[in-house]
Every structure is written in C-alpha cells, then in structure tokens.
Symmetry: C2
Subunit: 286 residues, 2 copies
C-alpha cells in the first residue's frame, strides 16, 4: 500500500529498505547547528525522535536500546562510580545509570544542546535521569571532550548516531584510543556498533578497530533486538582490558533489577552468544 | 521521505507501522483460491515472497526464521524420524529438516499449491529440500489433515502465516489439540507465535492456550530476530510432554552444524532466555 506522505514518517535506509510509522502530530522541528531534529507523536510506537531523517528514539522500543547499552557493563564492573556518556542527548542511557545508588557522577557529553532540551520537554520519562543531582550535561564534541580527560572514567558509553554527519567522528580509531585513555585502570567502554545483518561492514570494521585499540582479547560483541533500527538485530561492543563480561555472573542490585523490562542476568549471558554469521564477522581480518 | 509506489513494496502492520523494500522487478503475481501471492526482486533483501500484502520470506533473513523454527526441536528430540510441517509452503523449514540424515519422512502440508510451485521456481535455494526423496508435499488444510493422523509424528512444526485469512485456523485451541494428538509418545511441536513486542495479545493468548493443551509445564517460548516481520523480536513456542529443551545441551550433528548461519547449541540456550517483559506475557492469566 502507498503511505500518504503527510500521515506517515518514513526512514529509508540507504534508499533500499524503509521503516515507517503513522503520525498523528508533529510536535517539534528544528534545524540545529548539527542536524534536523523532529519529534512526532505516532499511533503505534509512541513519541519518536528523528535526527536527520533517522529514528533515534521511540517510546515503544527505547527501553531495549538503553537497558542493553548500560546494564551489561554496569553489572560487570565491580564498582563503577564515574560514568561518561558520549552522545545520548535523549537522556535514556543516563536514566538507566542513575538507577545505581553507588554511582557518584554521570557526565553526558552531547554535541547538540537542542537534542537535550527537546527530549527533556517531549520525552519526560526517557530523559528523567537528567534531573538527578549526580548528572552533569556538557554540550560539546564528545571526541574532543574525551581527549582532555585521561584516566578519569570507570565506564564510558558511546551512544552515537549512525556513522554519518556528526556521528562520523565516533567511529574513528583515534576516537577509540581517546576513549581507552579516558578510562581508569580496570575501566570499560561500550560502543553501539550498528547492525551485523544490514551493516555488516560497519560492524565488522568497528569490531576490528576496537580490537586493535583495546587488544583483540579485550573486545566482545553482544546483541539486542531494536525493531525501529535498520536490520533490527543490533550490536554493542564491550571493551575492557581487565573485565570479561561473560566470565562470571553479572551482579545486578535489586534496586535496579526490579525496574528493568529487557535486561536481566540471564539476558546478559544470552546477549553475548553470537550466531555463527555474526561470529564470522568478528573474526574477519580487514 | 515519500516512497514512490511503483518502486517500493510496503507492508503496513495494522496501518500503524510499515516496512518497505525497494523493488527492481515484480517476478510473479497470482490470486490463488486462498490469497494474493506476489514475488518481487529487491535491491537490499533479495527476492521476497508476499502473501496478502505481508512479507513472508526474504532471501536476506529467511535463514533466521527457518533455522530457528526447526533446529531447537530437532536438536532436543533424541531421534526424530517422522516430521510434519504445517504451512511453510516456501519449503524453507523442510530444507532445514532434510539436513538430518536420520530423518525418514517429512510431510509438508500447505493449503495453497501455488505457494509451493511459485517458491520452487523463484526461491530455488530456500525450497531445495522439497526435492529430497524423503519429502512428501500435500496440498490441503493442515488443520483438517492433522486430525486424521493421530500418533504419527515425532515432530510437528507449525509454520503459519499471521492469524488472518487462511492462518486463523492455525491459532485455535482445537487445532492445538489435534497437533498434540498427532504426536508419537515423547514427540514435540513448535508453533510460530508472533511478536511479543508488537502483538503482545496474540503471543500471550497463543502461549496460554498451548499451555492449556499441552500442560503449563510443557510449553516454552523462545526468541529470534526477524527484521522483515513486524516487531522484529519474534517468538516460537516449543511444546512437549516429555522433553525439556533447556534441561540438557542440544545435540547437533556436525553434518548439520556446519551448514548453519544463525543456530548453534549456544544460540539454542540463549534463545530460550526471555527478557522480563516477555516472561511476564507468558505468566499472565487470561
């Protein structure tokens, strides 16, 4: 069936596949210094944040992405106190992190202040963690910021857009090195690394580059299903020179576990199991 | 962006979300006695089979669906010799089953002969197993067929469409009872049970009804990611009065394992791990 243009928002991926949602109202539109920001109300998947034409957050499935970006690392590290989120201006990752009472500081470094302010207004639940007193929001280029903060963070989460526009810098090896250097001893970093099904090459290259920077034995990919992202089978890559996320059962305090919809200690273990075709992508030399 | 109608095929789910693929050619179109059958060549996801406007098979992700429908049960049962597939006229499930040399007979019961013949022609790899001498194709209503064959099959796989049109009968409790009665002692059945994310109610009802028919302790849901299906997070339900698919490591002969892209013994265990929101859907009383 044809989709009436003013009733549907469509994200076309490389002009070859597309995902659409029927919209009831456009709530916000602004051309920032970095990108076009749109927020729609939809019938089926709640409010959606669209950056440069790509779905970034939907109220329907954002919990999967944010829980899976944050909790595998938070439940692997023994005592993560100082956490940095690069990108992630919607606040969803921060909202997951502040569920841990032992966290002392969360720094959100998002390049685009209009993403933060519009999400605060239109996604109050997703962004609620930004109001926590332990959170500091910095609006600048995350790649530049992290270079100035060596040895400072127990955990760095890279919540980037796709490797286009402002997201390009967050898929470069020099950025991976800066993230590694920003970690405390025994720290860890997690990168969203795209779909191994629809973006095989981006996934494979990011995984290999991270292996070159952190050490091949120190990077592990894991998966979650994000229906509003192209390919739906989505990858994250966990990097740590000291901690192996699959060596021991993750420790998830009950103050956190009771609030989660997707993540659990069992889901943690399952997410690191890679289907053979994904495992092969992690083994290819470039 | 708007999608030009003659360049894209779009499946709208309940007219609220949609998935589209850019087509290069329409290869086949026929209105059968049961449904509209279309086969397109696409740029990004290979050839696609569309029944009544819904993506059923894409060359890009069909391996995930077919491997996950077949191998969890095939590797759990100690010696499945006689297997019935209901629906599944594309032949993809049969192609997975005939990889096991110990299988003696595979019966495919598909209501629509035009689905079988068109897939034989346009999806030669997916349907290749139909040429195996152990395979018998029967074109009739699977619900009626299975009622006449009590105690006959070690494994029944229900590869149905969505619960609309010809698929409605395959989501009824009387059908579940007939499938149960068609099993040999110690047999098992697997049903595709839709997306727990986008079709919560269908999934939850199917799971509860299967539990009522097979016994609540005898049904177990598992998950896979199928990007071309609405919601992408897709469920199957394994039912057996004797065999517990998560009690022991699955046995996968190397003649099979070397041919698989998605399934492995580790993926088996991971697939049965349910995120908390899915677990809750399996626990709801109606």
């Amino acid at each position: 069936m044809p989709l009436t243009e003013n009733e549907w928002f469509t994200e076309a991926f490389e002009e070859r596949t597309a995902f659409s949602a029927r919209i009831t109202k456009k709530l916000y539109e602004e051309l920032s210094d970095f990108q076009r920001i749109e927020i729609f109300q939809t019938e089926a998947i709640g409010r959606v944040l669209v950056l440069d034409g790509c779905f970034m957050v939907t109220e329907k499935d954002a919990f999967i992405y944010h829980e899976m970006l944050v909790h595998p690392a938070m439940s692997t590290l023994p005592d993560p106190r100082n956490v940095l989120v690069i990108g992630g201006g919607d606040g969803g990752a921060v909202t997951e992190i502040v569920k841990y009472s032992n966290v002392e500081s969360v720094t959100l470094c998002e390049i685009d202040p209009l993403v933060v302010s519009s999400c605060r207004k239109y996604f109050p639940a997703v962004s609620s963690g930004l109001a926590d007193p332990r959170v500091k929001v910095i609006c600048e280029d995350g790649a530049a910021f992290v270079r100035r903060r060596p040895g400072e963070f127990d955990l760095v989460l890279v919540d980037s857009t796709d490797p286009v526009g402002p997201g390009v810098a967050l898929f470069q090896r020099s950025f991976y090195e800066a993230v590694r250097d920003s970690l405390t001893e025994g720290g860890a970093a997690v990168f969203q690394t795209e779909s191994p099904l629809f973006m095989e090459r981006v996934f494979s290259m990011a995984f290999q580059d991270l292996g070159a920077v952190f050490g091949p034995a120190c990077v592990r990919a894991y998966l979650a299903t994000i229906p509003s992202y192209p390919g739906a089978l989505w990858s994250f890559t966990f990097c740590s020179e000291r901690h192996n996320p699959v060596a021991a059962a993750p420790a998830l305090p009950s103050e956190v576990s009771t609030k989660l919809e997707y993540f659990s200690p069992d889901v943690h273990g399952a997410a690191f199991v890679l289907p053979p075709f994904v495992r092969r992508l992690t083994q290819q030399s470039q």
